[in-house]
């Protein structure tokens, strides 16, 4: 397999630089929020992580589509790895979201918080992805079934979002409204840098994992050949 470009070390270096810039902007440049105080700073790590998780699931679904279209060998591993990253960042979304809920409203969980509930549903869905994958024999069939499931996941995201919005009317009255992006310039700038840093970090993690998985597969082939 050709060395993919851009190279992983270069991307990782840029990710480090962006993360450094993000930390500076979040903690030194962006002003403290008047209403929420210091706990608002969690926003800069929680929301980009959530968006990155969506991006990873989207990438996983895209690779899955490519697999079903073209039947290229590489797409299965790429889809699987992307979804793996998405699940990691999804778990992080739930954790940072719970901490933010505790900081803002004093409770660790809030059913009226759309983002949290949506992620819980998605998290369940994508955990089942791994269960499905591990219960199927490796081969073309597993690749195709996993791809179909990944595509269903991406269709589920907007549908679940709508459902959760609708559910609030009879589960909880919407008492807490989320503050929208009515942020001033430097806050928005900090958010964008943080988001870029996290996206790139997720992508670097994805590429590194892919390297590991591909090497694993090559080694298995070598082993079979050499011990036959």
């Amino acid at each position: 397999m050709r060395t993919a470009n851009p190279s992983v070390p270069l991307l990782a270096a840029i990710a480090v630089a962006l993360t450094g810039a993000a930390v500076v902007m979040v903690f030194f440049v962006a002003p403290e929020d008047v209403d929420q105080g210091i706990s608002q700073r969690i926003f800069y790590v929680h929301v980009p992580i959530a968006l990155t998780a969506y991006a990873c699931f989207g990438l996983g679904a895209w690779k899955a589509l490519r697999l079903l279209w073209t039947r290229g060998e590489r797409y299965d591993l790429e889809s699987y790895t992307a979804i793996h990253q998405g699940t990691i960042f999804g778990a992080l979304t739930l954790l940072t979201g719970a901490i933010w809920a505790k900081a803002s409203w004093g409770v660790w969980w809030l059913w009226s918080e759309d983002q949290l509930v949506l992620f819980l549903v998605l998290f369940l869905f994508y955990c089942a992805y791994f269960m499905l994958r591990f219960s199927l024999e490796p081969g073309a069939r597993r690749e195709r079934i996993s791809a179909v499931y990944a595509l269903f996941g991406v269709a589920l995201i907007p549908v679940s979002f709508l459902a959760i919005r609708l559910a609030e009317n009879f589960i909880h009255p919407t008492v807490f409204t989320r503050d929208g992006p009515q942020m001033d310039g430097s806050m928005f700038g900090a958010f964008c840098v943080a988001w870029a840093a996290l996206l790139l970090l997720a992508y670097v993690m994805y590429r590194v994992e892919l390297l590991g998985k591909r090497t694993d597969a090559n080694l298995r082939l070598l082993r079979e050949t050499l011990t036959s």
């Binding site: 079903l68 549903v121 998605l122 369940l124 869905f125 955990c127 089942a128 269960m131 499905l132 219960s135 199927l136 024999e137 073309a140 069939r141 195709r144 079934i145 791809a147 179909v148 499931y149 595509l151 269903f152 269709a155 589920l156 549908v159 679940s160 709508l162 459902a163 959760i164 609708l166 559910a167 009317n169 009879f170």
Partner: protein, 213 residues
């Protein structure tokens, strides 16, 4: 085109006939849904309002559907007939549609018993609630048949189906409970229709990939 629908009808008829002869899935579903409703009577605290009862109705329906879905592909698996069907000169998606229709028939039969029982034991059901049940049942059977086919291909068969199905069923429960409980059921019914459309098309298109070797 007429060939496609006659294939679908033939496949659905086969499943219904099998069930009429064997009579193992439908009685189980009926008994299960009734027993579940009775359990809920004891599980609910005595002053809980109707809202809780409607919620539990949907729990009963989803799990009854799971029972039916778990058995949906068993006839094909036992005889290795799924491979035969796949090789047959019919569109693969017709297999899915036939199976969905048959499963829907069983689910509707179970609901025909469950809904009156619920109305008797717990709370009244208006037209919106019944429409919600109807629309959600379509969604359950279309998505459920696809997901059950995935589960049928896997090793951990019985356990994996609920894991795959429940996250997908959550929007259906929201739509269903909403149409029973809310003052404006139209939104929820429209939502259920949207879910049905989106996921039926997806399932129809994706079934071929799930079932071919």
């Amino acid at each position: 085109m007429s060939g496609y629908f006659s294939d679908v009808a033939a496949l659905a008829r086969k499943d219904l006939r099998l069930e009429l002869r064997a009579r193992d899935t439908l009685p189980a579903m009926l008994l299960f849904v009734l027993s579940t409703l009775v359990v809920f009577h004891f599980a609910l605290p005595s002053e809980s309002g109707d809202q809780a009862a409607y919620g539990l109705l949907w729990v009963a329906l989803v799990f009854t559907a799971l029972l039916g879905l778990g058995r949906a592909w068993v006839p094909e698996q036992e005889e290795g007939a799924l491979d035969g069907l796949v090789l047959a000169p019919c569109d693969r998606s017709a297999i899915w549609l036939g199976k969905s229709l048959a499963t829907l028939a069983f689910l509707v039969a179970a609901e025909a018993v469950a809904l009156p029982a619920f109305a008797l034991l717990f709370a009244a059901l208006d037209l919106a609630a019944i429409a919600g049940v109807a629309l959600a049942s379509i969604g359950i059977c279309t998505v459920g048949s696809l997901v059950a086919a995935m589960a049928a291909a896997s090793r951990g068969r019985e356990v994996i189906l609920p894991l795959l199905f429940l996250p997908l069923a959550i929007p259906l429960v929201v739509g269903g409970v909403g149409s029973s409980v809310s003052a404006d059921p139209g939104t929820y019914l429209a939502f259920l229709g949207l879910y049905d459309a989106v996921f039926a098309i997806l399932s129809w298109a994706a079934f071929e990939y799930v079932v071919t070797e």
